[in-house]
C-alpha cells in the first residue's frame, strides 16, 4: 500500500494537465487494493495496478518528453504487486522459518533491482534511438527478458 501510495503521490505531484484525474484514478486503484487485502482476493491486484498505471499515463497526457522516473515507477508497481500477493497468501497459522523469510525478501529485492535495471536500459535505449519507435523498443524488451529467462533456466538446471 505504501509503494502504491508513493506511486500515486508521484502522479499527483507530476504537475501535468491531467495530474489530478490521474491521481484520482490511482486512488481508486489503491482502494481496490485495500479491498483485495481485506477480503484476501488476489484478483484485485492486477486491476489496482492497471488503474494506478492508467492514472500515471493520464497524467503524462500532452507531455511528449519521455519520463525518466518511469523506470522507478514501474519497479514500484511491481514491488506493490509482489508485497500485496505476499500479504494475501500469508497465513499466520503457518510458521515460516526465518531463513525462508529472508530468502523471500532477498528474491524480491533482486527482482525489483533487476526490473529497475531493465527499465533504465530500456528508457536509455528509447532516448538514444527514439526514431526507431516503440515497436522496436517493445520487441527489444521482450527479447531481453527472454534472454534473462533462458539464463535463469540454464542456471537452475
Amino acid at each position: 500500500m505504501a509503494a502504491l501510495g508513493a506511486s500515486i503521490a508521484y502522479v499527483a505531484t507530476s504537475g501535468g494537465r491531467f495530474a489530478d484525474p490521474g491521481a484520482g484514478l490511482g486512488a481508486i486503484g489503491l482502494g481496490l487494493l485495500v479491498l483485495g487485502l481485506v477480503l484476501r482476493w488476489p484478483a484485485t491486484i492486477p486491476w489496482s495496478i492497471l488503474l494506478v498505471g492508467g492514472g500515471y499515463l493520464l497524467s503524462r497526457e500532452g507531455n511528449d518528453v519521455v519520463d525518466g522516473w518511469a523506470a522507478a515507477f514501474g519497479a514500484l508497481l511491481l514491488l506493490a504487486a509482489e508485497l500485496a500477493s505476499w500479504s494475501i497468501e500469508h497465513d499466520a497459522r503457518i510458521g515460516a522459518e526465518r531463513s525462508l523469510t529472508l530468502r523471500r525478501l532477498a528474491t524480491l529485492g533482486a527482482l525489483v533491482v533487476a526490473a529497475l535495471l531493465v527499465n533504465f536500459m530500456l528508457l536509455a535505449t528509447a532516448g538514444v534511438a527514439a526514431s526507431s519507435g516503440v515497436l522496436l523498443a517493445a520487441v527489444g524488451v521482450a527479447a531481453a527478458v527472454g534472454a534473462v529467462a533462458v539464463v535463469l533456466r540454464l542456471l537452475r538446471a
Binding site: 519520463d67 518511469a70 527482482l111 527499465n119 516503440v134 527478458v145
Partner: protein, 424 residues
C-alpha cells in the same frame, strides 16, 4: 502431484499483454517501462520453476500412549530438486494436539537436502487415532506455480484412557468355581472361618476345633469359606452421549470402565465387556493381563454411532453373559434401548449395578421460561427412571464428573448392603 497456476501468473501475464499492446497503440515508451518489470517477473518465475520430487515420511516415537502423555513425532522431508518454498501440514485428529513444534510449517529445501522436523504431540483424548494425511505444497521462487501432493504415510497412535486408583471395588453376590480373592458365601476349603459342625468320616485332623470338641465331648471341625473368583461384565452404553466441548459422558464411561477392568483383573476375576450401542461389541469374560489389554483395546474403538435399530439383550451372545456374573453398567440413561436392556438383564436374575454417568453437567439449564420447564421435567424423569431401576433391585448411583469414581462405588455398596432383592 498436482500442478496449478496461481492468480498471480494470470494477473502478471494479463498486465504484460495489456501494457505492451497499449505501448504500441499509444506509442509511449513509459508504458513499456511500466510493463517490463511484470514481464521480467513472469519470465524469471517460469524459468526458475522446477517440479519438486518430494519424499515425505511421518514417524512416531511410540505407537501407544496414555491420556495426557506426550509423544514425539518426526517428519522427514526430502527432495532431489530444489523446493524454494514448501508448506507442510500434518492433519491431526481430534484428541491429538501439538504441544511443541510448528504445524503447519513453511521451509526451503535445497536439492538433495533431507530435513527432519520434530513435533511434540499431546494425547488429549483416548482412542485409536490415525495421524495424517500430510499435505505438502511447493512453490516456485516467485510464487507463480504451485505443486500439491498428499503423502500416503499415516501412522496410528493408540491412546489408552487414564485410570483412577480404586481402593476397593464392588463385591459380587455370587462367586465362580476358580480360586480368587473373593470370599465365597458357600462353605469349602478356604481360610475365612465360616462355622463348626460335627466331625464326619474323611474330615482331616487339622480341621478339628479342639476347644469346641472339648466342650461338647465329641469331635467338631471348622468349616471355612473358600476364596473364589467372580465374573464381572462391564456394560458400556454407547447409544447416546451428552457432550460439552472436549468432554462427554462416553469419555467418563470409558475411563471408568478401564479403571474397573484393571481393578477386577488384578483380583484374578474374569472380566468381560459389552459395548451396547449403534455398533455392538463384546468380549467373552477372561482373566489376566492379556484380557485387560483386550478390553482396553476394545474400548478404544467404542464410539457413539447413530442407529434406529431396536436392539434387545438377546443380540448379545450367550457366552458373554455367564450365570451368576455381576454386571456393572455405565450409562447416561439417555436411550430407551439401553434402559430396556438393563431391566431385561435384571429380570433374568443378573446381579446388576448401574452407574448413571450423568449428562446433566453437560447440558446447562436454559434461561428462558418454557425451555427451563422442559429441562426440569427432563431431570425429574431421570430421577423417576433411577427410582424405577432401584425398585427393580438395581443399585443405581448418579456419577458426575467432579465426584471420584470411588465415592460412587461406595454409594452403590451401601445400597447393595441394605437393598432387598426384587424381581421384575
Amino acid at each position: 502431484m498436482t500442478r496449478w497456476a496461481t492468480p498471480k501468473l494470470a494477473g502478471y501475464a494479463g498486465l504484460s499483454a495489456a501494457g505492451l499492446l497499449s505501448a504500441l497503440v499509444f506509442a509511449r515508451p513509459e508504458l513499456v517501462a511500466l510493463t517490463a518489470p511484470f514481464l521480467l517477473a513472469l519470465a524469471a518465475g517460469l524459468a526458475l520453476a522446477t517440479p519438486p520430487r518430494l519424499r515425505i515420511l511421518v514417524e512416531l516415537d511410540e505407537d501407544r500412549a496414555l491420556e495426557g502423555d506426550e509423544v514425539g513425532a518426526r517428519i522427514i522431508l526430502e527432495s532431489s530438486t530444489a523446493v524454494d518454498r514448501l508448506d507442510f501440514y500434518l492433519r491431526l485428529p481430534d484428541g491429538i494436539e501439538v504441544r511443541d513444534g510448528k504445524n503447519p510449517v513453511s521451509l526451503h529445501l535445497a536439492p538433495g537436502e533431507r530435513r527432519e522436523l520434530e513435533l511434540s504431540l499431546g494425547a488429549a483424548r483416548w482412542g485409536g487415532h490415525v495421524l495424517g494425511p500430510a499435505y505438502a505444497r511447493a512453490r516456485d521462487p516467485l510464487g507463480l506455480l504451485v505443486w500439491e501432493t498428499v503423502a500416503a504415510t499415516r501412522p496410528e497412535l493408540r491412546v489408552y484412557p487414564r485410570e483412577d486408583v480404586l481402593r476397593r471395588v464392588l463385591q459380587p453376590r455370587e462367586t465362580q468355581v476358580f480360586s480368587g480373592n473373593e470370599v465365597s458365601r458357600h462353605k469349602g476349603e478356604g481360610i475365612e472361618f465360616a462355622d463348626i459342625r460335627p466331625w464326619a468320616a474323611g474330615d482331616p485332623l487339622k480341621r478339628v476345633n479342639w476347644r469346641a470338641s472339648a466342650r461338647r465331648n465329641e469331635l467338631w471341625v471348622n468349616e471355612s469359606h473358600p476364596e473364589r473368583n467372580t465374573d464381572v461384565i462391564l456394560f458400556v452404553d454407547s447409544f447416546a452421549e451428552a457432550r460439552s466441548g472436549d468432554e462427554g459422558t462416553l469419555d467418563l464411561a470409558v475411563r471408568a470402565t478401564a479403571t474397573l477392568a484393571n481393578a477386577y483383573v488384578g483380583r484374578r476375576d474374569r472380566v468381560g465387556l459389552i459395548a451396547f450401542g449403534g455398533i455392538l461389541r463384546w468380549l467373552v469374560p477372561g482373566m489376566g493381563t492379556v484380557q485387560l489389554y483386550r478390553i482396553v483395546d476394545a474400548l478404544l474403538d467404542t464410539q457413539v454411532v447413530l442407529s434406529y435399530y431396536w436392539k434387545e439383550i438377546d443380540v448379545i451372545p450367550r457366552r458373554t453373559l455367564p450365570p451368576n456374573a455381576m454386571v456393572i453398567a455405565l450409562s447416561p440413561l439417555l436411550d430407551g434401548r439401553s434402559v430396556g436392556a438393563l431391566l431385561d438383564l435384571r429380570a433374568r436374575g443378573y446381579d446388576l449395578t448401574v452407574i448413571d454417568v450423568s449428562p446433566v453437567p453437560f447440558t446447562p439449564r436454559p434461561a428462558s421460561g418454557l425451555d427451563s420447564v422442559a429441562y426440569d421435567i427432563w431431570t425429574l424423569r431421570r430421577d423417576a427412571l433411577r427410582h424405577r431401576l432401584q425398585s427393580a433391585g438395581v443399585a443405581v448411583a448418579e456419577w458426575r464428573d467432579d465426584t471420584p469414581l470411588q465415592a460412587v462405588l461406595e454409594e452403590v455398596r451401601e445400597f447393595r448392603r441394605y437393598a432387598r432383592h426384587a424381581r421384575v
